[in-house]
């Protein structure tokens, strides 16, 4: 009896057709390829940033997604172009001793639910932030708050604390109406949340009652995707009008595409090498000439060209750039010859271009991590340079660098930290060089530096603080306490129909969706 293949094949064909039909039916959404723009008379912009919010609580959220959304504001703002502090929801403030502060809350500002922003509401907001977030407690060091009148709030800090003002820029200190029973953050920004699913998207609508003028856009769809290639594809597919941080490898090709603009600005973090002053080779690292020798092994321009696709600027101290507290960089000759001179001055044996100590080659451990993909490559460059002068460097890749380094099992660590931040050096200098500072992994305790830091921490006058921060930066560079290498650029890409976008120097301290943002 002949086989009945046609029936069998027909069955399979039916299944296949059903499958294709199902997929086609699913693709019925609006994917015309063009972002919303102004086609329907309403100006809508789609923005894809990097890190999603993990909660709708603006005081607890682990990323700056909510601040970036332009829905909330802090008492003190930071100008993204000058990095200077400016009065935001606080119209002004004064203090005689940097411990007892009086804040004058801006009049005529309403929350998105229509309630006025009063000193009482600000106090409740800050109190809530401190209740749910131990980081805010550490940042603000507030001992007491007292409402004087509707628009005057007195704050007393635990001790003399001039850094309070700059810490009020922190994205977890935004002022929201914490008495509102809803789930959405009720802020004061130019946009308000229409809906907000931290796991999905935030729909922002223009706040028609905004105190500082009307936003140009009617609506913003804001999402986050941690995969940089996916963000680039979203822009190319028309699913996004603006993306923050396109992948490094895509920046050049995006820049060559018509209809897309790529913006690249110096960031406010510095990639650097931290030296270990208390580890196995503490004797070496406590020798300034040795540190300078290791610094001379690093060719900064090679890092920018070879590792960062040109998206970086040179750094020689923790405050590179042209900021008021930036030191004038010293001369840093690099190369094996310069390095060998320093190693010889450090008392090491140099023979035939190789360095030894007590007749033995040096073996050092460099620790790096992959959260910032350029850092392991910088570690490799250092290992290769060190090998040229006979120094062996073992590379260790840590999953979480801040957990690995306290074990004290390293000589050098590649590290990335915000240094040029919040208009004030207090955050960086205390964390990275203060006694017991959580980012002082090398446990440096230089008496001169600590003394300068103590003076800085009690200096009230802003101008004097700027000058002191600059002097501390100069000392750090002169002594080569760490080796500051490059400032990675911050980048964004957007369609030419977008105007008013400003790429900030970091994602932590600025709104990205602003009232000036527009789409044609």
């Amino acid at each position: 009896m002949p086989r009945r293949r046609p029936n069998f094949a027909r069955s399979l064909a039916v299944i296949l057709a059903l499958c294709v039909g199902l997929l086609t039916a699913c693709s019925g959404g609006d994917n015309s390829g063009s972002a919303a723009g102004a086609a329907d008379g309403e100006k809508t912009l789609r923005f894809v940033t990097v890190y999603p919010a993990n909660t709708t609580d603006a005081h607890l959220v682990h990323t700056a997604f909510i601040l970036n959304s332009g829905t909330v504001e802090t008492l003190v703002g930071l100008d993204p172009q000058t990095l200077e502090l400016y009065p935001w929801l606080a119209e002004s403030w004064e203090t005689d001793d940097a411990q007892n502060w009086t804040f004058h809350i801006r009049d005529g500002v309403n929350f998105h639910n229509g309630k006025p922003v009063t000193a009482e509401a600000v106090k409740a907001s800050l109190a809530h932030a401190m209740e749910v977030n131990p980081g805010v407690v550490a940042a603000l060091k507030i001992q007491d708050m007292e409402v004087v009148d509707d628009h005057t709030l007195k704050i007393t800090t635990e001790s003399v604390y001039p850094a309070l003002i700059s810490n009020l820029v922190h994205y977890n200190t935004v002022i929201t109406d914490v008495s509102d029973p809803g789930d959405l953050p009720i802020g004061t920004g130019a946009f308000a949340f229409e809906s907000f699913d931290p796991a999905g998207q935030a729909v922002l609508v223009r706040n028609t009652d905004y105190w500082d003028g009307q936003a140009k856009l009617d609506r913003v769809i804001m999402t986050a995707n941690e995969d940089s290639n996916s963000r680039v594809l979203a822009l190319r597919a028309g699913d996004a009008d603006v993306i923050y941080r396109p992948s490094l490898e895509a920046i050049e090709s995006l820049g060559n595409e018509s209809g897309i603009t790529v913006e690249s600005v110096p960031g406010t973090r510095v990639y650097h090498l931290q030296f270990n002053y208390t580890g196995e080779n503490a004797e070496l690292w406590n020798n300034r000439e040795f540190r300078k020798g290791m610094d001379a092994l690093m060719n900064r321009q090679d890092i920018i060209d070879g590792v960062m696709a040109g998206q970086g600027t040179l750094a020689y101290n923790p405050f590179p750039g042209d900021w008021p507290f930036s030191p004038t960089p010293l001369d840093h000759p690099s190369g094996t010859e310069a390095a060998l001179k320093h190693f010889e001055a450090a008392g090491l044996d140099v023979k035939d271009g190789k360095v030894t100590k007590d007749g033995q080659p040096l073996n050092l451990k460099i620790v790096t991590y992959i959260a910032r993909p350029e850092l392991p490559l910088i570690a490799q460059l250092m290992r290769d340079s060190a090998a040229q002068v006979g120094i062996n460097m073992d590379i260790q890749v840590a999953e979480n660098i801040d957990e690995y380094l306290p074990n004290n099992d390293f000589d050098v660590a590649t590290y990335s930290v915000l240094t040029i931040t919040r208009g004030d050096g207090a955050y960086f200098l205390n964390g990275a060089f203060g006694k017991g500072g959580a980012q002082n992994h090398g446990r440096l305790a230089d008496p001169e530096l600590l003394s300068m830091l103590d003076a800085y921490n009690t200096e009230i006058d802003p101008e004097a603080r700027t000058q002191q921060a600059k002097k501390i930066g100069e000392l750090i560079e002169e002594e080569q306490f760490n080796s500051y290498l490059v400032v990675p650029n911050e980048t964004a890409a957007y369609r030419d129909s977008v105007s008013g976008w400003l790429t900030p120097g970091n994602e932590f301290e600025f709104q990205m969706v602003t009232k000036d943002l527009d789409i044609a």
């Binding site: 499958c19 959404g29 979203a234 915000l418 960086f428 959580a438």
Partner: protein, 310 residues
């Protein structure tokens, strides 16, 4: 049934121990994340004080007792990162993963039956070879790369589907295809080989000799006989899909449990990890039970053998 319940109970306690040990043995804790050390200048003293305050310095047995007591009450505590109950966080993420896993399994099964069936039916032909190439390519392609290719083709070039997110059902299509193509190859091979093997068995030849039609032979005899190994591997895959297809979830911006678990690991939000281990572990246990049950439906001789042992 009682045997299964006892097994389930034992497995549950093993999972609580594993969940607890993961936290004890893993490096670090949530304190650095909670204090926002990347944006706040904190000292070692402040770090240690918070650790003490959270009870992270308590003896391990005391911590396990606290943890087990909570789990037995169905309370996994609050996420240290969001302040919300861990179960709320997981409940938000699971629907996305369930949708993705369900759609993936359906599509993978369809692909398997179509391609596995064709390859078996036309054994040694060009079709069989083409299916073989598909299987090799599907198994060899890195999922994230295939996912990006799909986005490039269907979102960037053709503008047919969204590049990421699941705001509309259309968002489910590309991640489902990416995952289904990745997991289907072994099913196809297994089904193909099982079908070929079954088609040569005596009872199939006998049915054919009795003049039974080919579709009836295929669906009633050959296919049924070939399903047991397939169902086994499908059960295993479903379990791992429920655990979250992390790479696909990240590539397509899907906020499922896999992405949640990875983020929780990065932030050392161990309450979420513990709940994830226990819930997904129990889900896999139940799926395996169901797979066992399905054997009895697919092959009645299995239940008969079980009855004989009793």
């Amino acid at each position: 049934m009682i045997r299964w319940l006892l097994q389930g109970l034992g497995f549950f306690f093993v999972l609580t121990i594993i969940g607890f040990l993961i936290v004890q043995l893993a490096p670090g804790d949530a304190v650095l994340s909670m204090l926002k050390v990347d944006t706040v200048a904190v000292t070692d003293a402040e770090i240690e004080a918070l650790r003490e305050n959270l009870g992270l310095n308590d003896p391990a047995l005391q911590q396990y007792g606290r943890f087990l007591g909570g789990v037995l009450r169905g309370d996994f505590g609050n996420s240290l990162m969001t302040g919300k109950p861990v179960m709320t966080e997981l409940a938000k993420a699971f629907p996305y993963t369930l949708m993705l896993a369900g759609a993936t399994m359906v599509l993978a099964v369809v692909i398997t039956f179509v391609l596995g069936g064709l390859a078996a039916r036309f054994q040694g032909s060009l079709i069989d070879k083409a299916v073989g190439v598909f299987c090799t390519a599907g198994a060899a392609l890195p999922t994230f790369w295939f996912g990006l290719l799909l986005i490039d083709m269907f979102a960037v070039r053709l503008h047919l589907l969204p590049s990421s997110g699941m705001a509309t059902p259309a968002g489910l299509v590309l991640p489902t295809v990416a995952l289904a193509v990745a997991i289907a190859p072994p099913y196809i091979k297994i089904l193909r080989n099982s079908l070929i093997e079954a088609s040569g068995r005596e009872f199939v030849r006998a049915a054919r000799a009795r003049g039974v039609s080919e579709p009836v032979i295929f669906f009633k005899h050959t296919l049924r006989d070939s399903l047991i190994p397939l169902v086994t591997i499908l059960g295993v895959s479903l379990g791992s899909l429920l655990g979250g297809a992390v790479i696909v979830e990240v590539t397509f911006g899907i906020p499922g449990v896999g992405k949640l678990a990875v983020e929780a690991l990065a932030r050392r939000d161990y309450g979420v990890i513990q709940a994830f281990v226990i819930i997904v572990g129990m889900a896999i246990f139940v799926i395996n039970m169901l797979v066992d049950l399905s054997y009895r439906l697919l092959d009645p001789s299995i239940s008969l053998k079980g009855a004989e042992r009793v």
